[in-house]
């Protein structure tokens, strides 16, 4: 037997011996309802190929345009955003996120900085004044949740820690969304196993959904009646992205128990007070457009052609104006058929911007 084999045996047994029962042995876990989506696989693969071809077509046909920078009407008055550095091309990953700042929606002036937290995520209520922030104060600390209210001139007025129990196993959040009534927070958890949780902002009570499938819920939004969660799901096998619905009032713990809305669209923005949401689709005709779906049926109810590539992130509280970003990463608003870039001073070349209001 070689020296390396000896060392391997010794190290592995030492590591294994370090694992001892701690406290009471948990009971045999209950039966988990199988999630059977085998029949979806060929469809998702086909849709992924179509989406890829469509995306390439859009990229080829989309000619660069001169940025249209105007000073829009300031509703909502402020948004929160951060300069981000994207990771490897095509992955959509964020390599680095700068500090979160409060910006005037009309002038683009930075009015305040949010508390600096590690692994931070922020969600806006849509009124441009109320924001929910999650993150850890120190590297080893648990993720905590806060509600921030801005003063009329865009500074941090009130900051409250929410009574949501800290879970030390949570390593970070992939997405955070606040319900239109401000009473519920939905967040996608990066833990030992990924799941989606919904917390009652007042009581701190948390409900959790999981799935046997491998994937990540990387973006989510609430429907108008604060009941249905719309989320983008990245399926690992077969790789594909889809928009899904989850009725949070129904019993059950399976994240993927709800409807699949569409296999081509991502990044939903839900209309407040309404029963629909929009997502971006590259489209097979080479024109980027927004598609409107019903949150109750999951069926497409409308379509809107936009004259420039635009990825929506949030509606404002009135449901008339969409916040999003245009190709290149600059923030923009959409209340007609062409996105209007929101002035933003100091966005370094090659960087993107993430924003919510």
């Amino acid at each position: 037997m070689s020296v390396i084999e000896d060392r391997l045996r010794d190290a592995m047994h030492a590591r294994a011996r370090a694992v001892q029962e701690e406290g009471v042995v948990p009971a045999l876990p209950a039966r988990r309802r199988a999630v059977r989506f085998g029949w979806v696989a060929p469809i998702v693969v086909a849709v992924a190929i179509v989406a890829l071809v469509a995306g390439v077509t859009v990229a080829v046909r989309d000619e660069p345009r001169e940025p249209v920078v105007v000073t829009p009407a300031a509703t909502p008055p402020f948004y929160v955003g951060a300069v981000v550095t994207l990771g490897a091309a095509g992955t959509g990953s964020v390599a680095e996120r700068g500090p979160l700042g409060v910006y005037d929606s009309g002038t683009g002036r930075r009015t305040a900085e949010l508390p600096v937290l590690a692994e931070s995520r922020v969600a806006g209520l849509g009124d441009g004044r109320t924001f929910f922030l999650a993150g850890r104060e120190r590297e080893a600390a648990a993720i905590r949740f806060y509600r921030l209210t801005l003063t009329p001139d865009g500074r941090i007025g009130r900051q409250e820690a929410l009574p949501i129990p800290a879970d030390p196993r949570v390593r970070g959040l992939d997405a955070l969304a606040v319900s239109p009534d401000g009473r519920k927070l939905a967040y996608s958890v990066r833990s030992t196993t990924d799941d989606v949780r919904v917390a009652d902002v007042g009581s701190g009570q948390v409900r959790r959904w999981r799935t046997a499938k491998a994937g990540v819920s990387y973006r989510m939004a609430w429907s108008g009646e604060s009941r249905t969660l719309v989320f983008s799901w990245l399926d690992e096998r077969p790789v594909g992205s889809e928009t899904r619905l989850l009725d949070t009032t129904r019993p059950g713990r399976d994240l993927l128990d709800g409807k699949v809305v569409d296999g081509r669209s991502t990044f939903p923005a839900v209309k407040p007070g309404g029963s629909t949401f929009v997502t971006q689709q590259g489209g097979g005709r080479g024109i980027p457009h927004l598609v409107e779906f019903s949150t109750s049926t999951g069926k497409q109810v409308g379509e809107r052609v936009v004259k420039e590539w635009f990825s929506p992130t949030d509606y404002d509280a009135t449901g008339r104006v969409l916040l999003g970003f245009v190709r290149g990463g600059a923030p923009a608003r959409l209340d007609g058929d062409r996105p209007v870039r929101i002035p933003l001073s100091g966005l370094p070349k090659g960087k993107s911007f993430e924003a919510t209001w």
Partner: protein, 169 residues
């Protein structure tokens, strides 16, 4: 016409599953720790495996079968980590507890770090061979590969560890 079924009663399957869980849980967690790198994830892998084994024919509920399930569950976790690292800014994979790291000592940590850097199949082959001391045939059954593949995978893994650990090996 009465048709007799040879399927055993569900109660037998549940009893066998409960016994496997009671007697083998810790052993399976230890196996998963060596595959995924940290205890919390390993516990989740084992819990998930047992949650999915309800209702299975008691004939398949053997330690070897459950080991294969743990192996598959660990692969799935590692793949998800890889996807997550690609999609988001996740910076860390498994995090060893400070206590476990302190107990191991420098030399063993070096070996385990090198083991963690191996491709998944190579790591699995080494864990099954040198931790569980399984014969080649059983490793092949557990990994669902041929014996010759087990031999070549193990040889490549050992060669790589020898290179990585340099003169210390």
């Amino acid at each position: 016409m009465n048709v007799k079924t040879s399927r055993p009663p569900p109660a037998l399957a549940e009893a066998r599953l409960a016994a496997l869980y009671r007697e083998r849980r810790l052993e399976l967690i230890r196996l998963a720790v060596l595959l995924v790198g940290d205890r919390e994830t390993a516990e989740d892998v084992v819990q998930d495996v047992f949650a999915r084994l309800h209702g299975r024919d008691p004939g398949v509920l053997t330690l070897a079968y459950v080991r294969t399930c743990v192996l598959n569950g660990s692969r799935s976790v590692l793949r998800r980590r890889a996807v997550a690292l690609r999609r988001t800014e996740r910076a860390r994979g498994a995090v060893e507890s400070a206590e476990a790291a302190a107990l191991l000592g420098e030399s063993r940590r070096e070996v385990l770090d090198a083991l963690r850097r191996l491709p998944g199949r190579q790591r699995e082959a080494l864990v099954l061979r040198f931790y569980l001391d399984l014969p080649e045939a059983e490793i092949a059954r557990t990994m669902r590969v041929r014996q010759s593949t087990v031999r070549s995978t193990t040889a490549r893994a050992l060669a790589r560890l020898n290179r990585e650990l340099g003169g210390n090996a």
